[in-house]
């Protein structure tokens, strides 16, 4: 019902090391929030895919990592914003069959299947904004 942001950190994605840092931060927060091993792996991997996308296809950008609480339920959201050329055919990229660059298709469609909420906004020349949210399983 009500979504509360407990913490918010902006991390640059300018190099390969930054992808590792984002991934590590997401993993640490997921564990700190009490996510189980499967949910932790899922959200960390999804973040890794999108961070890599932002670096490789988006020519870098930033990730905003947020700890959430919704009616007592812990969650994590990560928003990726890049300054790249954008994705012309989002639908095709999300279907997983995109082939203009390595791993883009699988990265997006794979990340989407790993999280509870997935938002993406992109157009040629505008860069890409992708946002994922994963909630802790209650039971």
């Amino acid at each position: 019902m009500s979504r509360e942001v407990l913490s918010s950190v902006v991390m640059p994605i300018a190099g390969e090391d930054d992808v590792v840092l984002v991934r590590r931060r997401v993993r640490d927060l997921a564990q700190a929030q009490g996510f189980d091993a499967f949910a932790t792996a899922a959200v960390t991997t999804a973040a890794s895919e999108l961070a890599r996308n932002a670096l490789v296809h988006g020519k870098g950008g930033r990730a905003t990592v947020r700890e959430l609480n919704e009616d007592g339920r812990a969650g994590l959201s990560i928003q990726f914003q890049d300054q790249g050329p954008g994705i012309a055919d989002l639908e095709r990229a999300l279907a997983g069959g995109y082939s203009t660059a390595r791993s883009l298709g699988l990265g997006l469609s794979g990340a989407r299947r790993l999280v509870d909420e997935f938002d993406i906004d992109s157009a040629p020349g505008r860069g890409t904004m992708a946002s994922i949210t994963k909630w802790k399983r209650l039971y």
Binding site: D17, R23, F38, T45, S103, L106, G107, A111, R113
Partner: protein
């Protein structure tokens, strides 16, 4: 033996054993692939065991490097077995739609060695097409 990267590759008889215990990010993964192939060329190994039990995160990029390394090693005559993948890593890859078909797997290094040593064993033969 130690190559460019930070992943040690041991030789056990005619088999190479690589234990991936650090986070495999892009340059490390590529150096690892290069080191493995050079080691196969140098030693004439016929088997390659890649122990990934220490890997907590395997994204599609790392999964592809691992699968490709296995295929390349195979081309050079070294049968490859990926060992010790964690349950949460397996579930994540499957949910992403990445089943790593064609890659041989084993629960642990012992099973991996057994798979290499006995390619006529139960896992080697009688497997459905």
């Amino acid at each position: 033996m130690k190559g460019q990267g930070s992943i040690p590759i041991l030789r056990v008889g005619s088999t190479l054993l690589a234990t991936v215990h650090v986070e495999l990010y892009d340059t490390v993964a590529e150096a690892f692939q290069q080191d493995v192939l050079l080691a196969i060329e140098r030693t004439g190994a016929v088997g390659l065991i890649v122990d990934i039990s220490g890997l907590e995160t395997v994204d599609s990029y790392v999964a592809r490097v691992l699968a490709d390394t296995g295929r390349m090693a195979r081309l050079m005559g070294a049968d490859t077995v990926l060992c010790g993948m964690r349950p949460e890593v397996a579930a994540t890859l499957i949910r992403m739609g990445y089943a790593m078909e064609g890659v041989k797997t084993a629960l642990n290094v012992d099973d991996g060695l057994a798979r290499l040593g006995a390619s006529t064993g139960p896992l080697g033969k009688g497997r459905p097409a």
